[in-house]
Symmetry: C2
Subunit: 352 residues, 2 copies
């Protein structure tokens, strides 16, 4: 990966045009400061010489990279294949592009997120799903780079965009309860650092609290072993459900904390001879695109994933709308239940 020929620099153009480097710079960045024909002359020469300003030199001089970073504790390989992240990133990308900003993913480098943060050259950071236990936020704070957290109510002292995870979870449980279900299995998300699965403030803990609250209000308790966790992937859903089944659990409904896991559960259940939703009702979380395409289509808790990304960028750029007394900008987005075909009453027949 070696450069072949030296590329044209601003000095080359300046020399060829018989002007100073500053003039060339002006010709592109602030043409109004130059006479019209100097501009055209310089530009035409630049074109001839195939001059393109070196982005790195420009970044150094301006001390701006025109790039925002998306920071996640997961590896890039899981990020890129996870539909939730995909839609979130799409949201970030849309807003970033509109602002002329590039985006860079900051993900553990050789196992170290800290190192990755140091090596990243960005003007701002959007941190996704960072638990309170992650030292990186301190690191970022110290570095003075503006940042916004997403899905991290565990960090109430940082600007961020959130969704009411607990309420969303409660509505999901209430739906199942209303259908008559009493015997549940909840499938939770295991964060990258296994030790912190139940970390207070984590998504898993928040959603679990929501499920529990709704259940309790209906006088039902979650049985022992009625919570299994795994990675937030379809495979993770399969494994989790099989494990629960193997350990003897026979729920009539499952509350999955992500659509991917719900889809995995659907398959695992089917392989076990269960019909969905006839023998087993399933509700997911997120409402990613694929949720509409499963068979049956997935009942799930919708959250505005793309908008989360867009709002995060807006906040980072200083356009936050909400600002509480502490000067903290936070954006709270709504969730809602989308009832599709994967839920029915216990022992109910398959409906369309």
């Amino acid at each position: 990966m070696e450069q072949a020929t030296r590329r044209t620099t601003i000095a080359d153009v300046a020399r060829a045009a018989g002007v100073s480097k500053a003039a060339v710079s002006f010709a592109f960045n602030t043409p109004e400061r130059l006479s019209a024909d100097t501009v055209t002359r310089i530009r035409s020469i630049a074109t001839t010489l195939d001059y393109r300003p070196d982005p790195v030199a420009r970044m150094l001089a301006q001390r701006r990279t025109w790039t925002i970073g998306i920071l996640t504790p997961q590896g890039l390989d899981v990020i890129f294949t996870n539909p939730y992240f995909g839609e979130f990133s799409a949201g970030v990308a849309t807003a970033a592009e509109a602002a002329g900003l590039a985006i860079q993913f900051i993900s553990p480098l050789h196992g170290s997120l800290t190192r990755a943060v140091d090596r990243a050259s960005v003007d701002g950071i959007i941190a996704v799903g960072l638990g309170a236990d992650h030292p990186e936020v301190g690191q970022i704070r110290r570095s003075g780079i503006p940042f916004v957290v997403v899905d991290s109510t565990a960090l109430p002292d940082a600007p961020g965009v959130e969704v009411d995870d607990e309420a969303g979870a409660a509505v999901a449980a209430e739906h199942l309860l209303a259908l008559g279900h009493r015997d549940f299995l909840v499938i939770g998300i295991e964060p990258p650092s296994v030790a912190t699965t139940m970390e207070p403030g984590g998504v898993t803990a928040r959603r679990l609290a929501g499920y529990r609250a709704a259940l309790r209000a209906a006088g039902v308790e979650l049985a022992d072993g009625a919570l299994v966790v795994g990675p937030a992937s379809m495979e993770g859903g399969i494994v989790a459900f099989r494990r629960a089944w193997a350990s003897g659990r026979r729920p009539t409904a499952v509350l999955a904390m992500s659509d991917a896991m719900a889809i995995g559960t659907m398959r695992a259940a089917r392989e076990l001879g269960l019909r969905v939703p006839g023998d087993l009702s399933i509700v997911g979380y997120d409402d990613v695109d694929v949720a509409q395409y499963t068979d049956p289509p997935l009942t799930t808790v919708h959250q505005p994933i793309r908008r989360k990304g867009e709002e995060a960028v807006r906040l980072l750029l200083g356009g936050g709308r909400l600002r509480d007394e502490g000067g903290l900008e936070q954006q709270h987005l709504e969730t809602r239940l989308v009832v599709r075909g994967s839920t029915t009453r216990p022992g109910g027949t398959v409906q369309d």
Copy 2:
């Protein structure tokens, strides 16, 4: 997005340690060139001052960005939500991370890919799905940045990684033919630039050629209007199938050029009251992760998506294994048919 306090520079550390900037640099990059205790002293002072080398300054001085770019003609919003791209990117990311390289997505900026290429600061580029009509490859060539093309047999004079699209397509068609199908609908991919859908050398053209070859060998011709195209998404699949249906086509089997479109087709068919595969057999292309999770699981042409990404990085880094007489490094990967549940004989009963 403004920096708060000025960050510690190498000069600060040098001053505090009473050494030159060069010494500080050595302490981190080539410690063996310094006496052991100078190194420890400098490092400890650096830690105290919370010094972290500025990545941009480093890039400028080294004239290396330690970043490779993934170039695509599609917008980031479609890239990030497309499972094929997701898996490909995951492959690139894996290999890049191992080599200590970051990755950057180069996608049309305000509609211009050319501009995006200019603004990207990367050491090498992996161009995905670039047609021969894209002027960007000329641009990149001229810039002297090393590059590799993927999915672009249209550019035989560039190093690249390919898959035998035609053969894969042929096998898919043969499978359906062997089951007894004679009436087909093929659902093709419409590239970002609509005008070039049938551009010679494009994926659509290549796969279509494969389908046709197999069909012809069996003495069947594709009827008029038996090819519909759309964007490579689930939604695109829905729309395409509905359009074909509306125009009166009643195939017994569909050959979809992407799994996403196959999944969309599956749903559209179901909504039209067709059973899959009973009334309609469907075979996809790619074998993305979700293909295993549809109901029925999707019969599809497998291609090693992640490996394509990994090989592309390897090629870019100069580790290509194949090298033809022209010194051109190319990697040809295999496809294979994966028969799952979405295909059966015409009018056949649903099988498990």
